[in-house]
């Protein structure tokens, strides 16, 4: 690691000011679980690290009319164990519990994880399926963006220079929806997914409604499989309909060869796990 200035601003405004001042030479620093690894591997260098550890008001979960508001500095473990999240977005609590190990989850922050934009990270699958948004602040503006639109490419987000994720807004998970997250870990429990799928759907009069399917580790960004959703939305729930809809997922994914499987294998597995997730969400197979 090369020598870096480590700033500890006391307010968000001051932190955003440092980002403006140092531009590309500055990076926000939160839990450090990804950034320290990248810096040690010389994959990332920053002359200025702007720590958010002293900035107040960026941590914690609260319930508002439009859903759960989760501060960007909230630790993964705190989302996983939050009573509010467990009641109003149980899928999200579950997905955060599947991230890495408890040591990592105790340090990694929600905002940091999203800004890292590693397409193999678990949370975006659930966040996209739940129609979550991120709130993004800079010295000039505050804006909101659907999580689905946050990711641009491998390790690349839609954040502009000087912007920071400050909050995550997660609409309440419909109480009558089936919600499933399947993470395929063929090598070891301690690994990134070969592919993983979050599926959410309600059954109304024997038909599928509000179908949401999102995948991670299946391309350069977490991806929402609208092609699958559309194929199933409003359709009578049969094993055949689910199977056909799941097959469409190949048009939504774009995986790469890596240690967790070849691109072709991951494509095939995306179909299998999309189908299995939907079968469970729609009550066709036991959860």
């Amino acid at each position: 690691m090369t020598a870096t200035r480590f700033h500890t601003p006391a307010t968000l405004d001051e932190a955003l000011g440092l980002l403006d001042e140092h531009g590309d030479d500055a990076r926000l620093f939160a839990g450090g679980t990804a950034m320290v690894t990248l810096m040690k591997q010389s994959l990332l260098a920053a002359d200025h690290l702007v720590s958010l550890q002293r900035v107040p008001g960026l941590e914690g979960v609260r319930l508002e009319a439009d859903g759960l508001h989760i501060g960007a500095l909230t630790r993964h473990r705190d989302v996983e164990t939050s009573d509010l999240v467990r009641v109003y977005a149980p899928l999200l609590a579950h997905v955060y519990s599947r991230v890495a190990t408890v040591r990592i989850r105790n340090a990694a922050t929600v905002g940091g994880g999203l800004a890292h934009a590693d397409p193999a990270q678990d949370p975006p699958a659930a966040l996209i399926a739940l129609d979550a948004r991120v709130r993004i602040a800079s010295r000039r503006s505050v804006r909101e963006l659907p999580v689905e639109e946050l990711f641009v490419d491998y390790y690349e987000t839609a954040l502009a220079p000087g912007e920071a994720i400050t909050e995550l807004i997660v609409p309440r998970q419909p109480a009558d929806a089936g919600a499933v997250y399947l993470k395929f870990l063929p090598r070891t429990e301690d690994d990134y997914a070969t592919v993983a799928v979050a599926a959410l759907a309600r059954i109304v009069d024997g038909r599928a409604h509000g179908v949401r399917v999102a995948l991670i580790a299946a391309g350069p960004t977490p991806v929402r499989a609208t092609v699958v959703e559309r194929a199933l939305e409003g359709a009578p729930i049969t094993a055949e309909a689910v199977r056909r809809a799941a097959e469409a997922v190949v048009d939504a994914v774009d995986p790469l060869d890596d240690f967790r499987g070849s691109a072709g294998y991951k494509r095939d597995m995306a179909v299998v796990f999309t189908r299995r997730a939907l079968e469970r969400a729609l009550g066709l197979s036991p959860a």
């Binding site: 395929f184 063929p186 090598r187 070891t188 429990e189 301690d190 690994d191 990134y192 070969t194 240690f259 499987g261 070849s262 294998y265 095939d268 597995m269 299998v272």
Partner: protein, 743 residues
């Protein structure tokens, strides 16, 4: 049955508290005044001539004290047996990761920056990575000078196959001519890293004309011997000091950077410490060898194997240096404990432009056993004979000579296999896509020379002096049990004095490796304790005024005919001096004994994904007397889990000769959550070696696991995976291919 109080009693590790509280010192914990940090420049080419190295910018960097290249250490060759590896690349690099230059600087940061400032110009040469390519006509020859290296003979025909050993027995060709069936198959295995927690570390300080060394090696005397050649020093100019070792699994028998640290210390006039990072461990460590095994096996209609041809190719990597014998075993493991009268066993070690292999837990064993036990299982299934019956039909009994050529007294392989089958419920009903598979392996306890010194102090304390550097497998605990047993004192009375290499008074000591530690060192500790007892008896007799023959030691008490009972400690306190017993033992002879392991894996296969879930592994062992049940069970559990990693996930992956799995994020080892139900069966001991009738356990439990799992997969879904590791994707593809073939 002898009644023991310490031997056979579950005994917690004597160094456990020290380790978990952080008091135990490892080589990386040592700090010497003026100590510098050494770092390496590794080759980024698999095979290339070094046209030019420019170190001027590195030398000019403030804080840099020395920069050395192959020019500075020319002619210094390293190797446990075959000395074919230059300390730093000598005008040529033969693998991606080879050590090219080294820097000693004030701190790690400066050393790393200096390494980055070294410029190397390469001229690429054709490279070969695969054993078959490397022995093909026209393949680039890696070592044209083979035969001039110390420890080598010139080859008849220059070849990358630097060691080709053939053993033939019986009427080999005739048996094939008469066979009802001939089965041919090829199996391959991957490179595996030992994945110890503590990376290779070397600290060298040259003072008063002596090289003082702290490193994580489990065979300090052997390494000193090797270093005399590599460094050009006399044995008395080298001393290896003790440090605790943070895991070994075979990988700590050859200190990777030690000669370089020595030359950096020489060049800088300061102590130099080098600690490998894990990228270096994966890129340029001394992993388990990749192998390729071809079989041709003759079988009669009734399932009798009549002839067996093994061609066992070991991908040596660029050098043979890290192999203690210049080559590894495994070819005979691919013949096994089966009664096959006609055999040809070929063991072929081949240089390739890849990371040199070293030792890992039963070197060659898991490779040979995976191949053989998979092959035999496939034959049984093709002949529609139950794999258990097929094995029982062909396994040796007392008096039979096994295909491996091993001489084994009282082989209990059938009993061990039957015990595993019974405990595993081998014949029980199975759910769909669940299968059971078995495999057999064995490993004898290696021999060597050992030393011990036992001193009984006037206050009743006992000190055990030893040359052993326990690498984590629990030898110190076992030795404490031996001394406690022989002196009739509690284990916690034993204190350790761990010697540097000067401590044996010039005697050699084989250290740890080859499952010899318990065999050799229980004999040594037993002899030293007996010697101390004799010395104590003499002192007590004199003090009590009786004949030595009339002195009886019973635990803490000394009894004399008609005399008052005393504790011997009280009498020794009166005398006011200590007594000492010493031993130097030579335990190099053959034992004709081995320890068999038979394992049964139960797996579930997901036919839609190829995912293999191991549900249960039953491991039966033909053991001698178990000295410490805790340590013994730990060796079995740990070995089985390591075998699980070998079977399903661990692999050093390569692209164009470069290791690509450079972190534990990509190179996966099993975690506790991956461990299935483990059941151990220990046969009642009926023979063994030494004063307590022991056998080795360290290198048997990891050996059969991969084959047992492969065979269980074949049982579950009818496909055969013949190359390790067995990934879900390989199973998926095999199922798809079979499906396609069936249509």
């Amino acid at each position: 049955m002898v009644d023991y109080h310490a031997i056979g009693t579950p005994t917690p590790r004597v160094d456990g508290v020290e380790k978990v509280t952080g008091r135990a010192l490892y080589a990386g914990d040592r700090r010497l005044p003026g100590m510098l940090t050494g770092r390496l420049l590794h080759s980024h080419r698999p095979h290339a001539r070094i046209v030019r190295i420019d170190t001027s910018a590195a030398r000019a960097l403030p804080g840099v004290h020395a920069v050395i290249t192959g020019d500075d250490v020319r002619g210094h060759l390293y190797g446990r047996r075959i000395k074919d590896m230059p300390v730093l690349a000598d005008g040529l690099v033969r693998y991606f990761g080879e050590r090219v230059a080294a820097v000693a600087a004030e701190d790690e940061e400066t050393a790393r920056r200096a390494v980055d400032l070294i410029e190397v110009e390469y001229e690429d040469l054709p490279a070969v990575f695969d054993v078959v390519d490397a022995i093909a006509p026209g393949a680039p020859l890696l070592h044209p000078a083979f035969g001039t290296y110390p420890g080598t003979q010139p080859l008849d025909v220059p070849s990358n196959a630097y060691d080709h050993t053939v053993t033939e027995r019986g009427d080999f060709d005739g048996a094939f001519a008469e066979a009802d069936f001939v089965f041919e198959r090829t199996f391959s295995t991957q490179r595996m890293h030992q994945a110890y927690l503590e990376p290779h570390t070397s600290l060298v300080s040259v003072t008063d004309g002596r090289a003082h060394i702290w490193t994580n090696t489990k065979a300090p005397h052997s390494i000193r011997e090797v270093l005399t050649v590599t460094l050009g020093l006399a044995p008395e100019q080298i001393v290896l000091h003790h440090s605790h070792i943070g895991g070994d699994f075979g990988g700590k028998g050859t200190p990777l950077d030690l000669p370089i640290a020595y030359f950096l210390a020489q060049a800088s006039g300061r102590p130099v410490r080098m600690v490998a990072d894990y990228v270096e461990e994966f890129m340029a460590g001394n992993p388990r060898h990749a192998t390729l095994t071809r079989f041709r096996t003759a079988v009669m209609r009734d399932g009798t194997i009549t002839a067996h041809h093994v061609e066992y190719f070991v991908n040596s990597g660029a050098y043979a240096a890290y192999k203690p014998g210049g080559r590894i075993g495994g070819a005979t493991r691919a013949a096994g404990p089966y009664r096959i009268p006609n055999t040809r066993i070929e063991s072929i070690h081949v240089y390739t432009n890849s990371v040199p292999g070293g030792h890992m837990r039963a070197p060659g064993g898991p490779q040979g056993v995976f191949a053989l036990e998979s092959h035999l299982d496939a034959i049984a299934r093709e002949l529609d004979i139950d794999p258990l019956e097929f094995r029982m039909h062909n396994l040796i009994a007392e008096g039979d000579e096994p295909a491996s050529g091993d001489q084994i007294t009282r082989p209990r392989v059938r009993e061990t296999l039957q015990a595993a089958a019974d405990a595993a419920g081998y014949r029980d009903a199975k759910a769909l896509h669940v299968g059971r598979g078995m495999a057999i392996g064995d490993h004898g306890a290696g021999g060597g020379v050992g030393n011990a010194e036992v001193t009984i102090h006037p206050d009743g304390a006992v000190t055990l002096g030893t040359a052993i550097f326990d690498q984590g497998s629990g030898t110190y605990t076992t030795l404490a049990q031996v001394v406690a047993e022989e002196l009739g004192v509690p284990v916690d009375r034993i204190r350790f004095e761990i010697w540097d290499t000067d401590g044996t008074g010039g005697e050699d000591d084989s250290g740890i490796g080859g499952s010899r530690a318990t065999r050799v060192n229980t004999v040594a500790a037993h002899a030293a304790a007996q010697d101390a007892r004799t010395a104590l008896t003499r002192v007590l007799a004199a003090q009590l005024g009786v004949a030595e023959a009339d002195v009886a030691l019973r635990g803490p008490d000394v009894l004399t005919p008609g005399g008052e009972p005393h504790t011997w400690a009280a009498i020794l306190a009166e005398v006011g001096r200590s007594v000492t017993g010493r031993s130097h033992v030579d335990e190099r002879g053959p034992t004709h004994m081995t320890g068999f392991a038979a394992q049964i894996a139960e797996v579930a296969v997901d036919p839609e994904t190829g995912q293999v879930t191991v549900l249960k592994i039953t491991s039966a062992h033909d053991v001698g007397r178990v000295l410490n049940p805790i340590g013994h069970q730990g060796q079995i559990n740990g070995g089985v889990i390591q075998g699980l990693g070998y079977a399903l996930m661990e692999e050093l992956t390569f692209a164009d000769g470069q290791v690509t799995s450079l972190s534990f994020g990509d190179y996966k080892i099993p975690t506790m959550r991956d461990v299935p139900q483990l059941t151990t069966v220990l046969l009642e001991p009926d023979n063994g070696i030494g004063p307590y009738q022991i056998k080795g356990i360290g290198e048997t439990p990891n050996t059969p696991v991969a084959a047992a799992i492969a065979n269980a997969i074949a049982d579950a879904v009818g496909i055969r995976i013949s190359d390790l590791p067995i990934t879900a994707e390989k199973v998926y593809r095999a199922l798809q291919n079979r499906g396609a073939a069936a249509q």
